[in-house]
Symmetry: C3
Subunit: 352 residues, 3 copies
């Protein structure tokens, strides 16, 4: 009798334009939100105060953007990346609708690119994934590409198709909450005094706080997202790998950086897009994550009260950001850089 | 003044047919369910998707069977097993009604067997425990037996009464959800392609994933269940024992195995019974749990859409299941076997 | 461009009578309550059983008193104690209204005392903090004082004002739940047989259970409370301090002691006041916390069914309470004492 264990797709199993419906529709609850708070310590009032959310025009608190992203993303892992050699990148990640407690997310992916590597042993797969809520409204859409092992080396290489991806999500494509009545009075709830006009392109924010990750917390977070990549959970397996231990899911590092960057970006209420990103080095239990932000662009928006900042969010391990000047040289990334994320946030204008 | 600290019952404190009403009625919340997800990574959509549960005829998501069991079970610990030398076994564990968020469980036990050991220093106590919801409907019923210390060795031995216990819960005694409209389309949500007819008696499923347990996660889980057995929580106490460290509550291992066995049993939506079980060896923080399943019996049921599989669920530590052939020999259990559980699951038929 | 990182107030930044509105209003959810259970293992049915709470006259389960306190308190940290050298004490902590799931707490502090130290390098700041719910009803009020660094040593010392603080909250100032229909039948749910009349001034309860804390659980708890004091989270920073590692937030120790003291105080349903308290020694991951309680006073109350006990709750690390006689000598605290808390609890009378 053939094995009933689904070991996940290998490179030769992906077909261009194939649509993959991922399992495990997921209803988000107040329990998820509380755990996300416990994992990150985030203090953004939009996700922890009903009256604050309502004062901005929301009917209830929206779920943290990254919690929704990690849950939606986790559903793709069993089909897309469980046999991945490497997660190579993200692009064009759009946050299309707020997600609320009680919403159920279902994720689908389409294969949009394929390129077998010259070794013939693996290849790169590009997928566009979309997560919809119970009303079939798209709430998240993103592209990622992974290098996946080939199992049967005799299968001929597919035609190479490399999708064109935008360098960033353009301002006119960003979701703009409507209604949204934010103004400088939100400072009382956020604790932040700086608004869209106050930031300058090229400015660096060296966020001082650090967050040390441990095995229980990173595995609990990754389990909550139902990401089943074995390298995060199986210490016995990892003992015989070069890493020697469980790797921390990159999404845990992204969330740590977003929470750490609250200090100095208190009014950056929502993430509108992740334009691209690289996990430059792995993180392990015991590592302390720090974050540095660089302002890349400052966009006016067709919205009376909001502007956008395109930010470079640099995650560091075991070195505070005031000790790092060069993120990347011709030699590659600084060895303590764990994340290089290009992200667009919405932030109220000062108003008048 | 006499101590007000209730140290729990000793062997001589149990009387045959005595009914013990356990403290701490417990309302189950969405927070419990999220934490259970974080502890186990379970991907069964019945417990994490409201629309999926509703598509099967449930009014809302039922709580994971084992979460309800651990919470109900935890209430018995202060009265039954806080002075236990050993938890010897379970039998006749029946899941009688689904449990929903908002339900409050109250547990009662009846002493159904007593046998003082020949040493005169301890004895075995059998109890049948029943947990009811706020409408007094029984939701769970189980028998377990524990070896308990005697405190006052002068108390004469009670009459020996050993209850007759069924080897397994018979098919006609299983709870069958009504209505329940599952069919092969559930594959979209579960990700599993195999149904009741696809399994064969004697078949073994070697589930590949492993789950490494750590101190924070196992103690948080056991706390959530309000199980107060000291050996799970008190590292200082355990330093002077042969184990030298905190033991992981057996229920944590059962839940890990249930979650790990999802791969290959994706459509085994519900547990209908635990027929028996043994914690063959202890587990400690740092151990990686694996699971292997053997199909023991395959029962048609008086239900148009469901069948039952009686499964032997073997929990292993620090050895993947494809490295283990003999679970038990005349010498006893393989030293890496931590759990030998006989369990009955409900699984939809393929239909037509 | 000036840094946008708010590094918190230094001693010279506090002005007498200044009112500080703290950021991050916080809606409490069922997820918070479940996590609190997982952190502490508390078995008080008032906070985990809706029917029990309703049988006492509550409309729903009130949130654990200390969970509400830690959340309210956490909001003050970024403004008051992020640059603290030491948290010197609490006084006059009053629990004024029950807090329910769905309530949103907002915290404000007033500077009520200032005293620059003779070194000129730091000073003591006293604040009274008040937390209100979404209906602007005060739910918690407390005084604490902290020693805070001076940044600019040239700023002249402020006038010394030391507030008069009560040694304890007097009986007539305690919140008394109304209606409240507790009586000896609550024993079924609490498991406790002792009521107000059964305790005697001077009596000591040596609670036997211990709770070992670990890095993931203490940091997750402190994150849940949105307390951002860096010394709890940043292991890299702490490596170069005398402690060498992350300190456990004192509130985590208070909650551990409250949960451990359930055994012997099962009917002490609510905390009405914290009269004062000291964190006598720090705690670190791996420490096992124990608790000993001494009955200080026994107060009749103007309530038909409730009495109050003023208790001294002693937290110990790595030594069970039956090995400790002298909490404090002229040399100071026993080195294993981590907490000396003066607390008033409400406990039903036996009735008749």
């Amino acid at each position: 009798m053939a094995s009933k264990i689904h070991t996940g797709r290998f490179f030769e199993d992906f077909k261009l334009n194939e649509v993959i419906q991922h399992a495990t529709p997921r209803t988000i609850t107040a329990g998820d939100c509380a755990m996300y708070l416990a994992f990150t310590g985030t203090r953004n009032p939009l996700h922890c105060s009903t009256p604050f959310a309502q004062s901005l025009g929301y009917t209830q608190m929206p779920v943290d953007d990254l919690l929704a992203f990690h849950i939606a993303f986790g559903k793709t892992v069993p089909d897309i990346s469980v046999n991945a050699v490497a997660n190579l990148g993200y692009a064009d990640v759009r946050f299309l609708q707020p997600v609320f407690v009680g919403d159920t997310l279902t994720t689908t992916s389409t294969v949009i690119g394929l390129k077998q590597n010259s070794s013939g042993k693996n290849g790169v797969v590009w997928v566009r994934s979309t997560s919809v809520n119970q009303d079939q409204q798209p709430v998240l859409s993103w592209v990622r590409w992974v290098m996946v092992h080939k199992k049967n080396l005799d299968v001929p290489a597919p035609e190479t198709v490399i999708p064109e991806l935008p360098a960033y999500v353009e301002a006119q494509q960003l979701r703009l909450p409507e209604p949204f009545t934010a103004h400088h009075e939100i400072s009382v709830a956020t604790g932040g005094r700086y608004f869209w006009e106050d930031y300058a392109v090229g400015e660096r924010l060296r966020h001082p706080s650090g967050l040390t990750l441990n095995d229980s917390d990173h595995t609990m977070a990754t389990h909550l997202y139902q990401n089943n990549a074995r390298l995060h959970f199986d210490a016995h397996l990892m003992q015989s790998t070069p890493q020697g231990q469980r790797l921390i899911y990159g999404g845990v590092v992204i969330s740590a950086c977003r929470a750490l960057s609250f200090e100095g970006l208190e009014n950056a209420l929502s993430i509108a897009a992740i334009n691209g990103g690289t996990h430059a080095n792995p993180s392990y239990a015991g590592d302390t994550i720090y974050c540095m932000t660089e302002v890349l662009e400052q966009w006016a928006l067709p919205h009376p009260q909001l502007g956008a900042l395109r930010l470079r969010m640099i995650g560091l391990k075991n070195i505070p950001p005031d000790h790092v000047e060069n993120i990347k040289t011709s030699q590659g990334y600084h060895p303590n850089v764990v994340l290089d994320l290009d992200i667009t946030v919405l932030i109220p204008r000062k108003g008048n």
